[in-house]
Symmetry: C5
Subunit: 90 residues, 5 copies
């Protein structure tokens, strides 16, 4: 998993049936210092996360499909949790 | 998933039986600002997308196979939706 | 698998049910000389590893789910062993 | 999938039983302009492709295993078609 | 698959049960000219390969698990063959 921040969402009226009723989020993966980690990606929401939330991003298809309870869906990334705190050893 | 634009297609007469009747699209992944994100890739179409369309690209095999309804096919990328709009928080 | 060091953990109260009772570790992948290898990632613990431990990191979803005994969970990385020694041929 | 060119093959007498009778090809992934795209990789042949052929390369394990009809084999890349033409929109 | 050379092994007494009795090899992926290709990784052995051997490296979980005959194990890379020769077209 990666730490990521939700920065937007995508509207796609013509799409796979499995995505109906699911929000497609634009998420920006982050490094531990909060800076951007590569480009933004699209992920399905499974925890009703909102813009600005720092979240747990699963980046593999089989994992992501399971996360949203649709194992036969074309899903390869999902938001599966909202992060409260990151503790680092100093 | 990634945002991508369809820029062409591929003709391959001698190929796996699972690909018969399916269009193989040349798709260019995009960053949020619309610039190219790495090189173009090949993906199977599942939503009858056309040249120039901005689409949802699934980039994992198991997900992609499901997207085109052929779970036992050698498919690792698929176009699964046409994007109407991308909303970013400012 | 990669060699990695545990450098922290993440608290996420609102998350997928499969993650309840499992520690989410912040792990830093390492090169053979002990230097950082890319950015840190988040992985579920399966061997009760602690801060500072040098561990075996599995980086694929299906493998990781199996590692923690939850094959239907949205897990894409897991810590599956604690490294005692690395022997290199000179 | 990626576009790739076959540039050689590998001999390995001591290998997994699943690979017996299958040619292991050395394939060079290509960009759309025909230039090299990263380093060459090894893939199993499923369409009787030959040296110099421009081919469809599947780069994921589950997809690749299916391509060669051996779902329980340790295969992560396969050649699944021979490309006749690539059409790009100008 | 990638071409790789075995350069060492790892000792981990506290690890997933699936790894008991299996050697964890340190393998260095190679380019066609024999130079290093990225950093070294850890892979389970399935062909009794030894230090210095040039081998076939499978880099995907599902493939790797199958290679070592343990489909329910947390394995994401495996050595599945010893390379005798690489033939390149000139």
């Amino acid at each position: 998993m990666l730490i990521a921040r939700i920065i937007g969402d995508v509207v796609a009226t013509h799409k796979a049936p499995s995505h109906h009723g699911r929000k497609i989020l634009v998420v920006q993966p982050l490094d531990l210092d909060g800076s951007d980690r590569g480009g933004a990606v699209l992920a399905l929401d499974s925890v009703d996360a909102g813009i600005g939330d720092r979240v747990l991003l699963v980046t593999e298809g089989f994992s992501a499909m399971t996360a949203v309870g649709r194992p036969d869906s074309p899903i390869d990334m999902a938001v599966i949790g909202v992060i409260d705190a990151v503790h680092l050893d100093d």
